[in-house]
């Protein structure tokens, strides 16, 4: 501000304060956080200060684990259960194991698996099914419904989403009692959750601090007593105490089974709120017998409960179930609003603990795995560009097992009864969405390949095509994939059409180990050297970063550009970044420092941006973005009279760019992972067959689809020699080793990743409103520059 002051040392800062305050500057403000009064509790629970008063007595033992690390999977653990990739163990006991899993859509889940011997106890499965059905009817933002379960699995399982927050018990132990307002909000929310549980015909039976999880927007009630085995709680036994001593109603303490009902949960809620408000269970601690006796005969110890809470708590803690309010009525007694989205319902130290827990979940593996190195022959420098696999320690993860909701249906049904086996090639494609031209072209190609096979006189079996439309919608992609993988007769699948549908679908194929071959999904995250993702994919198109590199190599091969402009348009930021990252790298490989620009999604004034770039002397232009922005850029560059080479990639290549850019498209060079079939004599039969069947020549991507389906069929036939039906789960490694000559060219795959071991980017120029094929882009920095 003050030009007279000596400038501080160069410093982006972020990183260091100027060594001294500039003369005349006002003293820096105190950070508001830094002035928070009182000692700052650590983000992790600290041992209680022995001098603190009053020191809460130790809690009665709780069944769930203390907070700690997620344990690694054991060798004997499965890696996948139904739709969940397992990341670690949250807990284990005689009844089974609770795993931390991840759904296809990336949600964390707690998956509780019951040991077969437990599950085979009389009535267990029946009860499990009944209770899961009831739990699915529970609808409350503060209760976490079960949404995935399979009572009929050999080891029945149950899944809910995972919330990393601490339990109420942990929070109170670490930070002391909650303030009155927090207790009110807690009570209101849990009472609402219980009302929903009761409305569904369930009784929780184990409301206690360990079953309430704290999140920044409010508490969550977990574990509605579903699938508890006899060992856990003796749900149906009449002569055993069910629940947790200290948080039990008198009727539970005395095991008066016919009196146990919703009112028992209300009593437990009273205990829980007293604990939250004072740090002590209201019937004390100590031996179970003494606790149970006091529960039945003594008045609760509510000393220290704030005034406004006393009456509601006393009402909840009435000895006779009939005298207690319903859960619904408790919400009315605790009039504080529900937490809503406000993050301030809890004291700051507790919020920090929650944040800490959550950030620790960062350390879980498998978020978005990236590339590992590959042994590709070229382009040169590829290895350097490949993205390292982040192996993140599982051990740092924290959290107790928590049950929350999933949107995924999670269940897998048993295979249909034996019937005549069929031989099916699957197609997952966008047939009705934004990339439907590509999807339909691919379906046509696949159908022709199947027709071609079925026309053979000596065919060993008849093939069928099964098509699953994901509409280009990433949220429908996993379901579309399951329609194919759950059919045991599907041998392999062509698809999906688009980047993000493929990303969502891939885990389903990986889980089922069904080969998936794509000719158009170039997202780099699909193929990773990772044990859990990308095991089944092959792709006949380059990952976007390599395609971006190829565009830059082409510019270098064909021009003398010293100052190529490269522009990233953020509508599809991942695609654009992968292209510009590749192009930036490849230009720098050629000792050229490009001129990068990044512009927000939705920018309409490309004229201003490009006027600046051209004024600064760019002599070539690479557009890393989608078609609408490429159209705007093309018009702007035409208006500006730009004469350098203009280049764009896969997502611009298509009829829309020609139509919308019109004249401005002329001369643009586009790279795409497809060849024009009409230029290849090897494809003549395919083109003729396409015309015969569909009345038109093949669209782009049809030929590549035809080829890879033929490749799949060829290997299935080889494997089926001798009459054996091939095991589809063994096909991917075989397919990756094949060198295949198809109608559109040769296909070679990296054995490890399934990526193409080839350039794969064909260049076109727009001439007369059409795409004119040119040649493959170079595989590396050209030895000689263009003219």
């Amino acid at each position: 501000m003050s030009p007279a002051a000596p400038p501080p040392p160069p410093d982006r800062e972020p990183d260091a304060p100027p060594p001294e305050p500039p003369p005349g500057a006002t003293p820096p403000e105190r950070d508001p956080d830094a002035t928070r009064p009182g000692p700052t509790p650590g983000a992790t629970p600290l041992p209680r200060d022995p001098g603190a008063t009053p020191s809460p007595p130790p809690l009665p033992p709780e069944r769930e684990r203390e907070p700690g690390a997620v344990q690694p999977l054991l060798a004997s653990d499965p890696s996948v259960i139904a739709g969940y990739r397992l990341l670690g163990r949250l807990g284990a006991g005689g009844m089974g194991v609770v795993y931390l899993g991840r759904t296809d859509s990336g949600e964390l889940a707690a998956v509780k698996v019951t040991h077969a011997d437990q599950a085979d106890q009389p009535d267990f499965r029946t009860r499990f099914r009944r209770e899961v059905e009831a739990a699915r009817r529970v609808s409350s933002p503060w209760a976490v419904p079960v949404t995935g379960a399979d009572p009929d699995a050999p080891e029945p399982w149950l899944a809910t989403a995972f919330v990393p927050g601490p339990s109420l018990g942990e929070a109170v132990r670490a930070h002391g009692p909650l303030p009155a307002r927090s207790v009110r909000i807690l009570g209101g929310a849990i009472a609402r959750a219980l009302a929903a549980v009761h409305a569904a015909g369930l009784v929780h039976r184990d409301v206690k601090p360990g079953n309430v999880l704290l999140a920044v927007d409010g508490p969550r009630l977990i574990d509605f007593g579903i699938a508890r085995t006899a060992e856990e709680t003796a749900l149906t036994a009449t002569d055993m105490v069910v629940g947790t001593p200290g948080f039990l109603a008198p009727e539970q303490a005395e095991a008066r089974a016919d009196e146990i009902g919703p009112a028992s949960d209300v009593f437990a809620l009273g205990c829980l709120l007293a604990f939250a408000a004072t740090g002590r269970p209201p019937f004390g601690s100590g031996s179970v017998d003494a606790l149970l006796y006091r529960t039945v005969h003594d008045e609760p110890d509510l000393a220290g409960v704030p005034d406004g809470l006393l009456d509601p708590l006393r009402a909840c803690l009435a000895k006779s179930p009939a005298d207690r309010p319903t859960a619904e009525q408790v919400t009315a007694l605790l009039t504080e609003d529900t937490p809503g989205t406000a993050a301030d319902w809890l004291p700051a130290p507790v919020v920090r603990t929650i944040a800490e827990r959550s950030t620790r979940m960062l350390a879980l593996p498998d978020i978005e795995p990236t590339h590992g190195g590959t042994s590709v022959q070229n382009p040169a420098g590829r290895r350097k560009f490949l993205l390292a696999t982040g192996s993140v320690a599982l051990a740092a993860a924290a959290g107790v097992g928590i049950w929350t909701a999933l949107t995924d249906d999670g269940g897998t049904k048993a295979a249909p009864p034996p019937k005549k086996r069929r031989w099916i090639i699957g197609v997952q494609a966008d047939l009705t969405g934004p990339a439907k031209e590509l999807g339909i072209a691919q379906e046509h190609g696949a159908r022709l390949a199947v027709d071609h096979f079925n026309a053979r006189a000596d065919k060993p079996f008849t093939l069928e095509l099964k098509v699953s439309d994901d509409a280009g919608d990433r949220y429908r992609a996993a379901a579309a994939a399951r329609r194919l993988t759950t059919d045991p007769d599907v041998l392999g699948v062509l698809g999906s059409t688009s980047d993000y549908t493929s990303q969502e679908a891939l885990p389903v194929y990986d889980e089922a180990r069904v080969p998936l071959i794509t000719v158009s999904a170039g997202l780099n995250l699909l193929t990773v050297n990772d044990k859990t993702q990308g095991r089944t994919i092959l792709r006949a198109c380059p990952p976007h970063p390599f395609a971006g590199m190829c565009l830059a190599y082409y510019v270098q091969a064909k021009t003398r550009s010293r100052r190529p402009g490269i522009l990233q348009e953020r509508t599809d930021d991942t695609y654009a970044w992968q292209y510009i990252g590749g192009a930036n790298f490849a230009f720098r490989q050629g000792k050229i420092a490009p001129y990068p620009r990044v512009v927000p999604a939705g920018l309409t004034d490309y004229r201003s941006v490009l006027a600046r770039m051209t004024a600064d002397g760019i002599d070539a232009y690479v557009h890393c973005g989608l078609t609408p922005s490429a159209v705007l850029a093309a018009r702007a560059l035409k208006e500006l009279g730009f004469t350098g080479m203009k280049v764009a990639g896969q997502h611009v290549f298509g009829p829309r760019f020609l139509k919308e850019a019109g004249d401005a498209a002329e001369g643009w060079i586009l790279g795409a992972p497809v060849v024009d079939p009409t230029t290849r004599k090897e494809a003549a039969a395919f083109v003729a067959a396409h015309r015969a069947k569909y009345g038109t020549g093949p669209a782009y991507y049809a030929g590549e689809a035809y080829d890879v389906v033929n490749l799949l069929i060829q290997e299935v036939v080889k494997k089926a020699k001798g009459g054996e039906r091939p095991d589809r789960t063994t096909l991917t490694p075989v397919l990756r080793k094949v060198r295949y000559e198809g109608a559109m060219g040769g296909y070679v795959f990296n054995h490890e990743t399934g990526d193409p071991d080839a350039v794969g980017t064909f260049m076109y120029v727009v001439e007369g409103g059409r795409y004119k094929p040119l040649e493959f882009a170079p595989a590396g920095p050209p030895a000689t520059r263009g003219t």
Partner: protein
């Protein structure tokens, strides 16, 4: 279903994904001699419209945040008040962090990345109402170097201006994979990655980005981790940066950094959102 906590968690995941990607690409060739690089340019702003609606992959869920136009800062004084309420102090980073002195940047402080990829003192653009950086650290201790971090809040006049700042930050790593912070300190092999809302697991902020590379301090033995995370909430950007130091574990730095970032996003939202 939106669980408040899930939002935070997913945002963290997104950042981590960025972090992973950032680890691998450090092998880029030096880009030859920089002849005249363009100056770090104030972005053309008036022409762009806000990028609230990505068209390529519409997500069914929206950001759970509705700004109240009446609460949007319009004056420098408003902006300063908001920035100071949002910026992360040592408490937001973790119990081991303390404020550096001075704790806050000087008024008007606005570093720019020169054509030579060196950070220099610049003039704050007119599109910025206020910007403040709060410096914290874990002081050097036995066997550990000083871990320096800081948090920056920048209040722009419009959301579009903030959008352009996000784009420019991404641009900087493309333009200058290697940068000089000051005498004796530089960063290298920078990669930056954007995660607009709904992408890469970002369900917390309208836009988010991560930038990472190696940090070289002449006083330290070898290279350390460098990471910059930045998110946008309406017209406000919040950023955190950490420069690794010997004896500190990357994972711990990451946790602190994400925690400080998420804290600022939450604070910014509560400063700006419609109160029901």
């Amino acid at each position: 279903m939106t669980y408040g906590y899930g939002r935070v968690l997913r945002s963290c995941c997104a950042l981590l994904a960025g972090g992973l990607i950032l680890t691998g690409c450090s092998g880029s060739e030096p880009g030859g001699n920089d002849n005249a690089r363009p100056k770090s340019s104030p972005a053309p702003s008036a022409s762009a419209r806000p990028s609230a609606s990505p068209t390529a992959n519409p997500t069914p869920t929206r950001l759970d945040f509705t700004p109240d136009p009446a609460r949007a800062p319009r004056t420098e004084a408003d902006a300063r008040r908001l920035a100071l309420a949002v910026v992360a102090g040592p408490d937001s980073w973790g119990p081991d962090y303390v404020a550096r002195r001075p704790h806050h940047s000087a008024p008007g402080y606005w570093p720019v990345l020169s054509a030579q990829c060196t950070w220099e003192t610049g003039t704050r653009p007119a599109t910025v109402l206020h910007s403040v950086t709060a410096y914290s650290e874990i002081p050097a201790a036995a066997g550990k170097g000083p871990l320096q971090v800081s948090a920056t809040v920048t209040v722009h006049r419009t959301e579009t201006d903030a959008d352009w700042e996000m784009a420019q930050t991404l641009e900087e790593a493309l333009r200058c994979p290697d940068q000089r912070l000051r005498e004796g300190e530089r960063i290298s092999g920078l990669i930056s990655l954007g995660n607009p809302f709904g992408v890469g697991g970002n369900f917390t902020a309208a836009d988010s980005l991560g930038e990472g590379g190696k940090y070289h301090n002449d006083a330290f033995g070898g290279p350390q981790k460098y990471a910059w995370y930045q998110s946008r909430v309406s017209q406000v950007t919040v950023a955190v940066v950490a420069k690794g130091a010997p004896g500190h574990v990357d994972k711990d730095i990451d946790h602190a950094q994400v925690q400080a970032l998420v804290t600022m996003v939450d604070r910014a939202e509560s400063q700006l959102e419609a109160q029901s």
